[in-house]
Symmetry: C2
C-alpha cells in the first residue's frame, strides 16, 4: 500500500513510532514522495533541540549517546536519535549491530532510535539527514541526537548541522592535532575527552584548550569535558555543558541566527542537487546526440553546443 | 592590451609560439574570453594525435616525455607538450622547476612545452586541459603529449582523454596491485615499466600481463614495454607501441568513435559546470534572502522554496 504522507504525518504527530519510521524511510528515499512529506511535516518543526555527536570511530560516541539518552529520560523528556553511517551498506529501521547498549532503550516509548546509511551518493545522505531530523521534530521529540560514525566530510557536515555540536576525542588522540586537522575544533560547541581513565588525559585536555585559545576569537568558548562513558562518569557534566550552550544560544537571537544560516546552506544544497539532476535530462536524447555529432564534425564548438543545451 | 582572440588564433596557426602561450593562458583563465577563443580555434582542430602519459610521482614520466619528444623530433615532426600538475600552485609559461631535461628542447622551434597547474577548483583544470590541447592542435602540432604528475582522479581523467594513454610504473611497484587499484590498467593503451634496470622488473612485467589477462576482454591488449628512460633504452619500443596502437585505432573507425565518446563526456562536463555556476546566481540576492526568511518562519518549506528559485 502506498503510504499516504498526510495520514502518516498525523499519526507521527500523535506519537506513533511506526509512522515515524515510515516517514523517515520516505524522506530517505528521496524523490517527489519525499518532498511532499517534507512540505507536510515542515510547519510542525522548529521545536526540537538538536545535538550533533561526532568524532573518530571508536572514540565512544555510541556509548555517550546512550548515556545522554538516559540523562534526558531522567528529566522525563522524549528523545529521537539518528545514527548516521555513510560507509555502511545497511540502513532502515534496525538498530546498528554494535549498538547493544542502546537496545536498553528499545522498550522505552519515550525513545526512538533509527540508523541511516548511504543511499546512492553521499550528497543524498547530507540532504536526507536534516529531513529525518524534521520527522522527529514534527513527531514532538523535544530532543534529537544526530550521531555520525566517523569524521568524513559528509559526516562532519551532518553533525555540525545541529544546535549544539559535541565532538568526542580520546586521550592521546594525535595530541589533538588530528582534531584540528579534521576541522573538528571549528565545529565543536562542546569537546569531550572520553575514556578519561586512560593515560594522557591531562595532556590531551591541555592541548585542546591551548588550540582553542590559539584559534579564532569566539563569543562561546567550547568547554572540554572528561567522561568515562562506559561507567557513566562525566555524563551529567556533559549534559550541563550542552544546557549551558543552549542557554548561551538563547540570548541575543543566536539560536535563530544559527538556524537561519543552516537553512540558507540547506536551500543552496537543494538548489545544487536540483540543477545537477538537470545534467542528466539535458545530456540525453536526440538533441544531445545531434549536437555531439555536430561538435564531432566541427560545425559547432563544445561551448556553443553546451549553451544551446542549457538555454535551448 | 586586451588580446584579440581572432588575431591570436591567426598568429598561433602561423607558428607563433608567443601567440600559442597567450591563447593557452586565455583558455586557462576561463570565462567568456576563453569560450570565445575556443570557438575560434575549434574549426582548425582534430589533426593532432594526442598521447597521455600518467603514473605515480617519481615513476619517470617527465624523462619518458623528454625522450618521446626527441624520438618524434627525429622524424622531423613538431610536438606540443602540456605538463599538468593539479597540486602545484605554479602555472603559466615557465617550465616546471624539475624539468631540467626538457629544457634541452627549449631552443627547438619544433617543440612547445607548457605547464598547467590548478586554477581554482580541480574541475576547472579538467575542463581547461582539453582546451589547451586544442590550442596546440590548431597551431598545427601533429603530436601533442599531455603529461600529468600523479594518479589523482582529475589527473587520470585528463591523461585518459587522449588517443593513446601511456601508463608508467616501476619494478616492484606494489606488485602491480596499485596500478590496478588506481584504475590505471583500465585506461592504459600502453604500459611502461620504467627503471627496468632495477630488481624485480620481470616479476612486475609478468604481474601486469597476468592482470591484463584476468581483466575484461578487450579488442586491444596493451603491450608492456620495458624502458630505462634516463639512458634512452626502450624509447624506440615505446614509440613503436604507440604507433601500433594508433594504427589499430585507425581501422574500423575506432579513433573517430573514441574521439566522439570524449566529446560527449566533455559536453556533459561543460553543461554540468554551467548549471553549477547557476547555483551562485540563484542563491544570492533579495529573492533568495526573502525565501530564506519565509522558510525560517515556516510559511514555506525548503523544497518548495528551492523549486521557486530554480523555476522562478
Amino acid at each position: 500500500m502506498k503510504p499516504d504522507a498526510a495520514a502518516l504525518v498525523d499519526s507521527a504527530r500523535a506519537g506513533d513510532h511506526g509512522a515515524v519510521a515510515r516517514l523517515i524511510s520516505l524522506v530517505e528515499s528521496g524523490g517527489a514522495a519525499a518532498t511532499d512529506a517534507v512540505s507536510r511535516l515542515y510547519p510542525y518543526t522548529g521545536n526540537a533541540y538538536i545535538v550533533g555527536v561526532t568524532g573518530a570511530p571508536g572514540a565512544g560516541k555510541s556509548t555517550i549517546t546512550d548515556r545522554l539518552i538516559s540523562r534526558i529520560r531522567r528529566d522525563g523528556h522524549a528523545v529521537g536519535v539518528l545514527a548516521i553511517d555513510p560507509t555502511s551498506p545497511f540502513t532502515g529501521g534496525a538498530i546498528l549491530g554494535d549498538r547493544v547498549r542502546m537496545q536498553d532503550h528499545a522498550t522505552d516509548e519515550g525513545v526512538f532510535i533509527r540508523s541511516m546509511a548511504t543511499r546512492g551518493h553521499l550528497g543524498g545522505l547530507a540532504l536526507a539527514a536534516p529531513q529525518a531530523v524534521r520527522v522527529l521534530d514534527a513527531a514532538g521529540k523535544p530532543w534529537v541526537i544526530v550521531e555520525t560514525v566517523g569524521v568524513g566530510q559528509v559526516e562532519v557536515e551532518i553533525a555540525s548541522a545541529a544546535d549544539t555540536t559535541v565532538v568526542v576525542v580520546n586521550p592521546g588522540w594525535g595530541d589533538g592535532v588530528q582534531a584540528a586537522k579534521a576541522g573538528l575544533l571549528e565545529i565543536a560547541d562542546v569537546l569531550v575527552v572520553n575514556k578519561a581513565d586512560r593515560a594522557g588525559v591531562n595532556e590531551t585536555v591541555r592541548d585542546l584548550m591551548q588550540m582553542l585559545e590559539l584559534g579564532a576569537e569566539r563569543s562561546w568558548t567550547p568547554p572540554v569535558i572528561e567522561t568515562v562513558a562506559t561507567e557513566g562518569t562525566g555524563i551529567d557534566d556533559l549534559f550541563d555543558a550542552i544546557e549551558r550552550h543552549r542557554a548561551f544560544l538563547s540570548t541575543d537571537g543566536r539560536l535563530a541566527a544559527r538556524r537561519v544560516a543552516r537553512l540558507r546552506n540547506e536551500l543552496r544544497s537543494i538548489v545544487h542537487a536540483r540543477l545537477a539532476d538537470q545534467v542528466d535530462d539535458v545530456c540525453s536524447g536526440s538533441e544531445f546526440e545531434s549536437l555531439v555529432t555536430r561538435v564531432a564534425d566541427r560545425s559547432i564548438d563544445p561551448y556553443t553546443a553546451a549553451e544551446e543545451l542549457v538555454t535551448g
